[in-house]
């Protein structure tokens, strides 16, 4: 039994301690916005936040999130689109869209630490794979997001 906070609510899951969070989210809880791409922490499609930090859920055992706060793409936009999602919409970033939940979660975590990252920092930090090659638009959206974030704050 693992208890943690999921998207702002208490969750209590009765499953193997070593079951990766990704499959707890997708198969046990039905939160399918977090995607499976590789299962070995290489592609980033499964990125979620654990206590605000970007983590790849496919290799994160359930036990490791006990007592912590997990946010998924569903939780991110729960109160209307998050500024980063708005920037994504404004720049029309997704193509097939499959990697985008993970990209957005990775970018939100980065911007929380570093509000105006340069292109090199984005490339180094958000190393999620996009098979469609949306990187240039992603970068444009990341540049636009801080304005939206500040707009929201002000």
């Amino acid at each position: 039994m693992a208890e943690f906070i999921l998207n702002g609510r208490a969750a209590s899951i009765d499953a193997e301690a070593e079951m990766p969070l990704l499959w707890v989210l997708r198969d046990v809880l039905g939160l399918t916005g977090t995607k499976f791409g590789c299962g070995i922490a290489q592609c980033g499609a499964c990125t979620v936040h654990v206590d605000g930090e970007a983590q790849r859920a496919c290799m994160l055992p359930l036990a490791a999130v006990a007592g912590r706060a997990v946010t998924t793409i569903e939780g991110l936009g729960a109160g209307g689109p998050h500024p980063v999602q708005q920037a994504w919409i404004a720049e029309d970033v997704p193509q097939c869209g499959y990697c985008q939940s993970g990209q957005i979660m990775a970018v939100v975590a980065l911007l929380a630490r570093e509000p105006r990252p340069d292109a090199a920092t984005v490339a180094a930090t958000v190393d999620n794979i996009c098979r469609c090659g949306t990187y240039p638009r992603l970068l444009r959206a990341v540049t636009r997001a801080p304005e939206l974030l500040t707009g929201k704050a002000g």
């Binding site: 198969d27 569903e74 098979r131």
Partner: protein
């Protein structure tokens, strides 16, 4: 069992998290005879919003938006009220193939479908105009369609499409006039994609996201050698793992079936399995490379020769001999291969992202001996199919994974989702062909 979340708690938890909205209707709504349906391509709701049916697969190319733009343009409706849904494959079989061959590839979704969509939308528009004219008792020629309304110039009266849709469901207009490009409001303008909001909030439904009541999950191991089959396996240990329902053979591969995919995949690793590898066991990259080089030398085809090659080479000051070698390459779609099937006595439903729903339907019919009118293939978004690989043929033209799901659902009489691990996906592709190309060139300076 101890590791199980009780079904009631599971549902309550899922509902609390807002996770039960699964993007398709069950049971599926009747595809034809639907209120406000003007023809197979479009439905006008009472509030005037328009649903455009998309008969192509969306795998990143933006086809739902492109095709909806064509319909909205010719229909003269308000773009802000346009949404899309995937066209019914079942209806296509029952209804004289209004969507033609449902096949996505070769970069021809817009080029191939455009003429038909213009006609279908123009035809619907003309019927809306005729319905308004009839209601007002004026000639249709004195009315015009504009941005979701039919307007009568003489009296200034207008009616919204939503108010006219029911009355417009009349026999088709034979040769509807098409708008001239000079009148276009949408086509040729860059518009925001309609599918972006769903692709940034996690709600877009890919094949891998489909969930059905009582669904089982299957992980698959194929013979590590292409063309090999299963010889025998010992599943005793795997069956002792939590949540595992069965370990079975499916079409020469091994399937572990459990109550979630991770448990299935873990169980698979616990099966002791012996493969019949077959002749390809001796084949490896080195053997292939040598064979291709030998073939090139003895049998290679001349693809291109420019100038007087022999004469120029004889006097060239610099000669280049380059060998280009491309290995077999997997499509490596971001979304690993998957399909979900639900086989009952008189009906088959298959959910997946597919470039060839017709092929999936044919396979379902063959495997269950049910007629095509009993087969329902539900198109989902495709994750990173890379339609651009080589010749434009994508991995999701094939029905192999769907066939596994259908066979397993039939066997267990429950919905089954088959998902391949990334490793299985890479090792069991329909690979882009290997090639060896020699280029000899002479430079005169």
């Amino acid at each position: 069992m101890a590791g199980d979340v009780s079904r009631r708690r599971f549902l309550a938890g899922a509902a609390a998290l807002g996770a039960l909205g699964i993007g398709f209707h069950w049971p599926p709504q009747a595809a034809s005879g639907e209120e406000g349906e003007l023809n197979a391509w479009l439905v006008v709701a009472a509030d005037g919003s328009v649903t455009v049916r998309i008969a192509e697969a969306e795998m990143g190319q933006g086809v739902t938006t492109a095709l909806a733009m064509i319909v909205a343009e010719e229909l003269e409706c308000d773009w802000r009220g346009v949404r899309t849904e995937f066209a019914s494959v079942n209806r296509n079989h029952r209804d004289g193939r209004p969507y033609g061959r449902m096949l996505t590839g070769g970069f021809c979704s817009v080029r191939g479908g455009r003429a038909g969509l213009h006609r279908a939308a123009a035809e619907a528009r003309e019927r809306l105009v005729a319905a308004a004219a009839a209601r007002w008792g004026v000639p249709a020629a004195s009315c015009r369609a504009e941005q979701g309304f039919v307007r009568h110039a003489g009296s200034g009266r207008q009616l919204g499409y939503g108010e006219l849709a029911k009355a417009a469901a009349r026999p088709p207009v034979r040769e509807p006039p098409l708008k001239s490009p000079a009148e276009y409001r949408l086509l040729g303008r860059p518009l925001a994609r309609l599918d972006t909001p769903a692709k940034v909030d996690g709600s877009a439904l890919y094949g891998i996201d489909v969930r059905l009541p009582g669904m089982l999950y299957a992980a698959i191991a194929h013979c590590p050698v292409v063309g090999g089959t299963l010889e025998r396996f010992d599943e005793a240990e795997a069956l002792r793992r939590p949540g595992v329902a069965a370990i079975v053979e499916v079409a020469g591969a091994l399937a572990a079936v459990a109550d979630n995919w991770w448990r299935a995949n873990e169980a698979l690793a616990a099966v002791r399995v012996t493969w019949r590898e077959g002749d390809n066991a001796k084949l490896d990259s080195g053997v292939l490379r040598d064979r291709f080089r030998a073939e090139l030398a003895s049998n290679g085809e001349l693809a291109c020769e420019r100038g007087d090659f022999a004469a120029a080479m004889a006097v060239a000051s610099r000669r280049l001999e380059v060998l280009y070698e491309m290995p077999f390459l997997a499509h490596a779609a971001m979304e690993p291969m998957n399909a979900t099937a639900w086989v009952t006595e008189d009906r088959v439903d298959v959910w997946l992202g597919t470039q060839s729903p017709d092929r999936v339907a044919a396979a379902a019919s063959r495997l269950t001996a049910l007629n095509l009118d009993r087969i329902h293939v539900h198109q989902c978004y495709l994750g990173g199919t890379d339609a651009g690989v080589g010749d434009g043929f994508g991995r999701r033209f094939e029905s192999d994974c769907a066939e596994q799901a259908i066979a397993l659902s039939k066997r267990f009489a429950r919905p089954v989702k088959v998902l391949w691990s990334r490793e299985q996906d890479m090792r069991n592709d329909f690979y882009r062909p290997m090639s060896t190309v020699a280029c000899n060139a002479g430079l005169d300076a």
